[in-house]
Symmetry: C2
Subunit: 332 residues, 2 copies
């Protein structure tokens, strides 16, 4: 019998979920709206019904596949408590005991929750480029900068379940205003909006700089446009990526000084800009880390497929939990 | 039979060692010069002889105590390889296979090596204020700023054995020159010399500021003098501690954002300044860490005794290794 896991990614507007095999292939997937009504019990009932429906429609009848568990990635998802805690972008307020609520609907060996960047890190470890690595860092570049840290083969959750907020380390004291209210945080520079902010600073500095990007308003500009402009040789766009990488590399040097990882994986839209971002990141990291760490740490593109990474990452939680349980059983 | 461990701390000028019981009490201790001749085999032979002599002189005859192992703290000590690698302040050049050399002289269950700050962290975990903590950070303030990071109850060694170099994270881009050749590193601000450098900046800024410290040359000033001046109400001295704490707290916020530890321990001379340093450190950490971590992370003085901490920390490696071995035996 083939064993599969269900990966669920809860975002501010959509909840996507899929059935994933042990190699990280998404067999089937679907989605429902993440509701704005704040009634989490109704949401979990709807989500559970949609998952059951997906299983039935997929014709993976129970004698052919065994569902080993549900893995959930959600903003402010706490692995230790199984709760979503005070997520600013979800309508569910306060502490939501998501794992307990899901247990009422599903009788499976594992139901586990973490945040989306941690799920991506576990996905990279279970299915992706970090297979066999014991110490690495996953950086997800999107609306913000998320991170998942793996030490000795395990995700670092810290004392409270929320470790791995590298996006909120201060890279420029007194710098740009962050969504969290503080200033100078890494994600205000190294993220899709961060790149746009850098473009606007450069347009101001160079008085437009003969850039095609000078025709775009702040609200219409995307990091994809900046990439296209860079590809067309636009100097402002190229400089914007160089600065983004330079800042990311400096931050990664500090992360390396803490953790000495084998590799740092970059995931998400801005990472698709390839050498425009990888090259300055690598250079700045090497220039700023302690000599003992130089030329040791790889900066690699994530091997998770962008379209299904959230589902795949969340599903990886299930295999990781099963692996841990088997070790614990031996010890006990 | 009472079980004991031998802790060895190899410094640039002295090698101190002692016999330590399971509660962290140093039963007897001694020291030899760390030689400047670079002949490591001769040094290990001399060290081993001195340790044997200490055991014999202490009249801990072998039917009363059992020596469970040797733990060594040394600059650039690599836990994984058991070697001291390219230590700038020791006369032994290149890669020195210290553990292998010690094994020729001692037949004990454990011989293990790490750097001094990691040893201090393990000491804090085994005997000190971090007993029972699974996630914490040890900061040692001395000539430099050393750190040991504990995640899930284990020291973080990283991919290469050298993780935990928080002193070399960049806190002020382009700032003070560090001993490693880079600029703006945390230890150039938060260490015994770092405090002195801050005093000299402040004396320059305030044109002496009516401070008693304005009578001291750079070479004669110590961080202890700064503490004494602060106690006497000297404003430059008080400001110097406030700035040191403010910078340390900002750095600790970034460490918290990575690791979400339960506590951060401060150890060493400057930490003896108590509230002069703890208060601004705590305030700056709280002001700069992500709201989700606020009012969660304790900043605590180390409970290791300053006179014997190096020996005690190194000896703790032995108990930690024995604990790991017993878990591994069950798993296998």
């Amino acid at each position: 019998m083939k064993q599969v896991a269900i990966g669920i990614d809860i975002g501010g507007t959509n909840s996507v979920f899929g059935i994933v095999d042990q190699d990280g292939n998404v067999i089937v997937k679907s989605s429902i709206d993440t509701p704005q009504h704040g009634d989490v019990e109704r949401y979990v009932a709807d989500l559970s019904k949609a998952i059951d429906q997906l299983i039935n429609e997929s014709k993976l009848s129970e004698d052919k596949v065994e569902i080993m568990g549900l893995g959930v990635g959600a903003p402010n998802g706490n692995y230790y408590t199984g709760s979503i805690e005070y997520a600013p972008n979800l309508s569910f307020k306060g502490v939501v005991p998501l794992v307990d609520l899901l247990k009422k609907h599903f009788d499976v060996p594992v139901i586990a929750l973490t945040n989306d960047a941690n799920a991506a890190a576990i996905g990279e470890m279970v299915y992706g480029g970090a297979k066999g690595m014991k110490n690495f860092v996953m950086i997800t570049l999107g609306t913000g900068l998320g991170s998942g840290i793996v030490v000795n083969g395990d995700l670092v959750y810290g004392a409270d379940g929320f470790a791995g907020e590298v996006g909120h380390t201060t890279i420029i004291h007194g710098g740009r205003v962050c969504g969290c209210g503080k200033r100078g945080h890494l994600e205000t520079y190294c993220s899709a909006p961060g790149i746009k902010r850098t473009v606007f600073e450069l347009l101001a500095e160079y008085n437009g700089g003969n850039s095609a990007l000078a025709d775009k308003s702040y609200n219409e500009m995307t990091s994809k446009m900046v990439f296209d402009a860079a590809e067309a040789g636009d100097e402002i766009a190229i400089k914007a990526f160089a600065k983004t990488g330079e800042i990311l590399g400096r931050a990664m040097a500090d992360t390396v000084n803490h953790l000495s990882p084998e590799a740092i994986f970059l995931f998400g839209g801005p990472a698709a800009a390839g050498d425009y971002i990888f090259k300055p990141t690598k250079e700045a990291m090497e220039a700023n880390c302690l000599p003992i760490f130089q030329n040791k740490v790889k900066i690699l593109p994530s091997k998770l497929k962008s379209g299904s990474a959230a589902i795949v990452g969340a599903s990886a939680l299930v295999w990781k939990e099963l692996e841990k349980k088997s070790v614990e059983n031996v010890v006990e």
